[in-house]
Symmetry: C2
Subunit: 267 residues, 2 copies
């Protein structure tokens, strides 16, 4: 409605590849340039926030637009780099809308690695990793993460488990059998590298479950008496782990991005 007051508050937040340091110039590709200029209607001098997963978060001013590009001038650091918990998600690819959702939600929930694995009953037999990565980047930008999750090469589950690092707990979300309640299992295991394995909509084959459970790092956990869709199980399991053993256990405002004052907003 009315003219916005000039403010140092960044108008959006972008993940970039370039190194970030004061004075650095950063070029944006066609899509990003279009987004800033024609969707957000930003102009030269407007400020955005940028992060690259290594150098923290910086403010950068739009330096100029051209045909299919935009350049930014990095000014000041806003937040120091901080890595999230060491938490992997292994998941069987599911159909399109729901796999987008899995990448988005897992990123918001702070996973450090996304790893598509093919199980015996996995329906799609390939996965669009570019699309997964784009969803993860967008969610990292929106959720104010300082990193984008790593994306492991999709492979057969048994191949992924063959080289499993012994010190990383692998919570197997199982909807049947002799499993322990997730809260109890996570509390008992305590801190340390963790991963969750979520099967496809059709579930694991029993012989496959038997194989998985031979691995000494595996802890089968249950997510209650109702049958959850695979995408629901992803969010539910990751949230429980974060709340009990991850970075949701810290108190109050200290863990929030510093610019997020109580006056701004709340979910």
């Amino acid at each position: 409605m009315s003219e916005q007051p000039q403010s140092r508050q960044p108008r959006t937040r972008l993940y970039v590849d370039s190194p970030l340091t004061a004075g650095q110039a950063v070029g944006l590709d066609h899509d990003r340039a279009h987004f800033l200029r024609h969707v957000l209607r930003l102009d030269k001098g407007d400020v955005v926030a940028v992060f690259n997963g290594r150098d923290g978060e910086w403010l950068a001013a739009i330096d100029g637009f051209g045909k299919g590009w935009c350049s930014l001038a990095v000014t000041t650091r806003r937040r120091a780099q901080q890595d999230g918990p060491d938490l992997w998600l292994l998941f069987a690819p599911i159909k399109r809308g729901r796999i987008d959702f899995v990448a988005e939600k897992a990123t918001e929930l702070g996973v450090s690695r996304l790893w598509p694995v093919f199980t015996r009953r996995t329906d799609p037999n390939r996965v669009n990793t570019d699309r997964l990565r784009a969803n993860a980047i967008e969610a990292a930008e929106q959720s104010e993460r300082l990193t984008v999750p790593d994306l492991s090469e999709p492979m057969q589950l048994e191949k992924a488990l063959a080289a499993w690092p012994a010190e990383r707990t692998l919570y197997l979300c199982a909807e049947a059998g002799n499993v322990r309640p997730i809260a109890e299992a996570v509390r008992e295991k305590g801190a340390g590298p963790a991963a969750f394995l979520i099967g496809p909509e059709g579930g694991f084959a029993q012989s496959e479950l038997d194989e998985i459970c031979k691995l000494s790092s595996v802890v089968p956990v249950g997510l209650g008496p109702r049958i959850l869709r695979a995408d629901t199980a992803v969010v539910a399991a990751l949230a429980c782990w974060q709340a009990l053993s991850g970075d949701w256990t810290a108190h109050g405002g200290d863990t929030r991005p510093p610019f997020r004052s109580p006056a701004e907003s709340a979910v």
Copy 2:
């Protein structure tokens, strides 16, 4: 591929309005009849499972199809009625795809009541309750719940809070301010009627938060250092509560539907 062996294993699971008892006839409407006949390609004599939220789960055989209808004959009871935890979800309506998701996920996660509330920054100013209810019913069928969540009349948040029952804890999911980690708050409160309040994508207005926090039943909780979308916050918060204080705390197979043997499947 090959002929399916005749089995008493129901081919699908339907929510119905009718009373359920042995010998009862149940009529299905056009959509359900079409689904059974033309989507699942069932025939007279095929068995489905039915539940109505009051009488447990029953097996029923298809008795006949007609133009736009199907009748079932209820045979034997499969599970006794059992109500889930007393857990409400108050949520600000969000855009279409994501509100469908909220109804689906909250139902899978066992809420007993869905309650859309309009906050100051809620964008949609009306909500399609028929659609919400249809999503909840479908999720109840799929997740093997024995109930469908109640759907409260959408209203302004302040009106909903004006008559708030004092004994029901209202966890306010807040992304800023002086909040307690969700696990700590839920553990401390322990059992008892609970509700979660999740704001719109734009967050609550500060004056609105101040008003909400005057209510003695309100416990502001945090969901970690990243900014979650409203739909993510719904799933995350409900999962944490179920894992710590709800029906995910029970052990092993006892809490599963009895027919779900380890050999069948797992998430």
